[in-house]
């Protein structure tokens, strides 16, 4: 009984402390109403002087219905951390990066080691390294300022372009921060990031540039350049178009731009090494990433005439292997795919259209040849720049460790590349 009374007292005391904490509500917690939800972060070389410009795209929900987003730029900060802290100081909002899904690096930043800035995200537990990383042409600030024709905020539009579905069809080569860091810290010291370009398009129907222009500015001081944009959950009728106040003249307004990420930037030791064209990106994806279904054009003779065929390709098997022949490394791509014709640029008799999906031998061989050429081109670019795009060095280290020391410096150039690519048609 005495013990029961003691426990009752202990629990009463604990409950009192708990209630005190609960009702005082003053022990360092920061609630949702004072939190700025950063959905994307852009980092550029500082426009003026040393350091970086850090642009945060913040979701600002409205009281009811759709909200908007604001781009806020901290200029000339020495570290990303300083930029984030400044965001807090200057706006009064506590920025949370847990929902940051995109880190966009300005192109100029890639001339130096990008891990100078990406290190912050690896150090900080509050930032998820599951977010996507991409490089953009020009500056991240301008890219965030571009509006999507479907009334998305730019970060959401970019994330859609970099979706796993896009990766599966080989259109882009998507990378999350963790994978990029793993590549950088591995023996390869290499990685690849999608390269985003903004293409001007006609204004979308119902695009609301005028509305956007009429929105109040969120500028709090000279260094901050907030821009309101609609949230992804915004209904089209009430959503606002994006507007960049900090961008250079002539940039897109009112949802007139589309984002393309079909090019891929290669990195070696954290610096830009080369850029793969869309065709090379597709070949790389088909050979080395999760892509198993893709579209591509080939020019081939059909019924004695040259025709452009759009092929639908389904990868059945892909394998990369490193072997040694006569003491020299041989790297083999083995790819088996099925292809069928989705379209051609020539009119054809109805019988041919009826069986058009069955690719002719000539088309299949042309596809193999095209694929091989693009793959070779990508591999050559990678080898020239030192980027271990296909994991040759990695394989040497993991599977032929005894030969690693001998070839660690020159494996990319020394390895003979072989292509065992077979396309077959649907029967």
């Amino acid at each position: 009984m005495r013990t029961d009374k003691l426990w009752a007292r202990v629990f009463l005391a604990a409950a009192a402390v708990l209630l005190l904490l609960f009702f005082s509500n003053d022990f360092g917690l920061i609630d949702i109403r004072e939190t700025a939800i950063v959905v994307a972060l852009g980092i550029d070389e500082a426009e003026e002087g040393e350091g970086y410009d850090v642009t945060a795209q913040i979701a600002v929900p409205a009281n009811a219905g759709p909200g908007s987003a604001a781009n806020v730029t901290a200029k000339g900060v020495r570290t990303v951390s300083e930029g984030i802290a400044e965001l807090n100081q200057e706006t009064g909002w506590y920025p949370t990066l847990v929902h940051c899904r995109l880190i966009l690096l300005g192109e100029a930043l890639t001339e130096r080691n990008v891990f100078d800035v990406l290190g912050y995200f690896l150090r900080n537990e509050a930032v998820e390294d599951s977010c996507q990383v991409a490089v953009c042409a020009g500056t991240a600030r301008e890219t965030f300022g571009a509006g999507s024709p479907v009334n998305d905020i730019s970060a959401s539009a970019i994330i859609k372009v970099l979706s796993s579905e896009a990766q599966k069809t080989g259109l882009v080569s998507v990378t999350i921060l963790k994978d990029f860091a793993v590549g950088y810290y591995s023996v390869s010291e290499s990685g690849a990031l999608p390269y985003i370009t903004v293409k001007e398009e006609a204004e979308s129907q119902g695009g609301s540039a005028a509305q956007a222009a009429a929105l109040p500015s969120l500028v709090r001081n000279k260094r901050w350049r907030p821009v309101r944009e609609p949230l992804p959950l915004a209904a089209p009728a009430s959503a606002e178009g994006g507007e960049s106040q900090g961008g250079k003249s002539g940039e897109s307004k009112g949802g007139g731009a589309v984002f393309q990420a079909s090019e891929t930037m290669l990195f070696y030791r954290g610096k830009k090494a080369a850029i793969l064209t869309p065709e090379e990106t597709l070949a790389y994806n088909l050979a080395a990433t999760d892509t198993d279904f893709a579209y591509g054009n080939v020019t081939a003779a059909q019924d004695g005439k040259e025709a452009v065929c759009s092929l639908q390709m389904k990868i059945g098997k892909k394998r990369r292997s490193l072997s040694f022949e006569n003491g020299m490394p041989v790297f083999t791509f083995t790819i088996r795919a099925k292809a069928r014709v989705a379209d051609t640029d020539k009119a054809a008799p109805i019988l041919n259209i009826a069986k058009t999906q069955i690719a002719e031998e000539s088309v299949l061989r042309a596809a193999e040849q095209k694929f091989k050429e693009e793959l070779a081109s990508a591999a050559e670019k990678a080898a020239r720049s030192g980027c271990d795009l296909f994991g040759i060095k990695q394989r040497l280290y993991r599977f032929r460790h005894k030969d690693y020391e001998a070839f660690r410096e020159n494996i990319l150039s020394a390895a003979e590349l072989r292509y065992d690519i077979r396309f077959s048609g649907l029967k």
Binding site: S130, S186, H401
Partner: protein, 356 residues
């Protein structure tokens, strides 16, 4: 200490033993043994498995508690001294996991500038747990198993799409010396064999109990090895920076889904099992202290938990220093108490029984 069931001991080894090794241990192992971390872990598990086997053999031969065995062999005073020494060992072995758990809680379960105040209520729970007997410990193991069996596989399954098991190669890249070091320097995560020694006499040996317990230990070890393999397969060369391993491995699959971080649901469930596991060394410390001093559990429970709270506050910002001290300087002490003393005690007791 009241009675435990053999089943509950099995459940402990299957569900509660692995969770202690899911936070800092994988990263610590990756720091030393790199991609060969499985070997380091396996080495420890084999040593501890041998201790478990010996203790179960002892349990088969004699159903007496360790205190009685020591009393018969060396007298009450020495029995008390041994219990006192093990009380200290259990206290020390509780400290690093506590700091580990504290960091996990503050870093993973909070987003803002959390304070130690958020973790401090744990000691109230631990105090309450310490005043309960072994039967409560056993029943908690009964609860822990289904929670673990549900959440652990889900986290592993969520991690698998991002795992590249080739990262565990080459097997020859890490010198054997480093693997051994990795093993020895992680002795403080292997205290479960010593727990079993003190449960001796508090469970009734039933037919095939040794096999069951060893099987359960093997299952727990497999869970740890599987986790380590998946962990390194996901993170490869950046594994050593993943301090809260279990919170990291599954997020890559769930981050971009419309449901968001559903892995947290299972993480909270595992955190519950971790809390139960965290209380065990403290409970064992109190048990040893009670036998040494000969008092009711209330006072030693309060003293031990207050002291642990004080040390947690004191070492709030010194986790790395404590980790270095415990793993690199005091590893021999931990190895002594985790492997050598239990094995020696079991062997001595067995020899005495054989000799007329």
């Amino acid at each position: 200490m009241e009675k435990l069931k053999v089943r509950q001991i099995c459940f402990y080894f299957m569900a509660m033993m692995p969770v202690a090794k899911l936070l800092v241990y994988p990263a610590a192992l990756a720091f030393r043994a790199k991609n060969c971390l499985l070997f380091s872990s396996l080495l420890n598990s084999l040593l501890e498995g041998a201790v478990v086997a010996l203790v179960m053999l002892l349990a088969k031969k004699t159903g007496k508690p360790l205190f009685v065995l020591l009393e018969q062999r060396a007298g009450k005073l020495w029995a008390k001294i041994a219990y006192g020494a093990f009380a200290l060992y259990f206290f020390a072995s509780a400290l690093l996991p506590l700091l580990e758990q504290k960091n996990f809680v503050l870093q993973v379960l909070y987003e803002n500038a959390s304070t130690l105040l958020s973790f401090a209520p744990f000691f109230l729970l631990s105090f309450y747990a310490c005043t309960k007997g072994a039967s409560s410990m056993g029943r908690i193991a009964d609860v822990a198993l289904p929670v673990f069996a549900l959440s652990f596989p889900v986290l592993i399954l969520l991690a698998l799409p991002h795992a590249d098991f080739a990262a565990l190669l080459p097997l020859s890249a890490v010198p054997a010396r480093e693997i051994a070091k990795g093993s020895l320097f992680s002795a403080n995560w292997y205290t479960d064999g010593a727990f079993l020694l003190f449960w001796l006499g508090h469970f009734e040996y039933e037919k095939g109990a040794a096999g069951k317990v060893l099987g359960a230990y093997a299952a727990g070890t497999f869970a740890v090895l599987l986790f380590l393999a998946v962990f390194y397969a996901v993170f490869a060369d950046i594994a050593l920076r993943q301090q809260n391993a279990v919170a990291q491995i599954a997020k890559y699959t769930t981050s971009f889904t419309s449901l968001g971080r559903v892995d947290y649901l299972f993480l909270f469930a595992l955190a519950l099992v971790m809390i139960f596991r965290m209380c065990i060394p403290v409970q064992m410390c109190v048990h040893c202290l009670r036998r040494t001093v000969g008092c009711k559990p209330l006072l030693p429970s309060a003293a031990v938990n207050l002291l642990l709270l004080a040390l947690t506050v004191f070492f709030n910002y010194s986790f790395l220093e404590v980790q270095t001290l415990f793993t690199q300087k005091l590893w021999s002490v931990f190895a002594l108490f985790a492997y050598l003393l239990p094995a020696a005690a079991a062997l001595l007791a067995l020899r005495r029984r054989r000799s007329p």
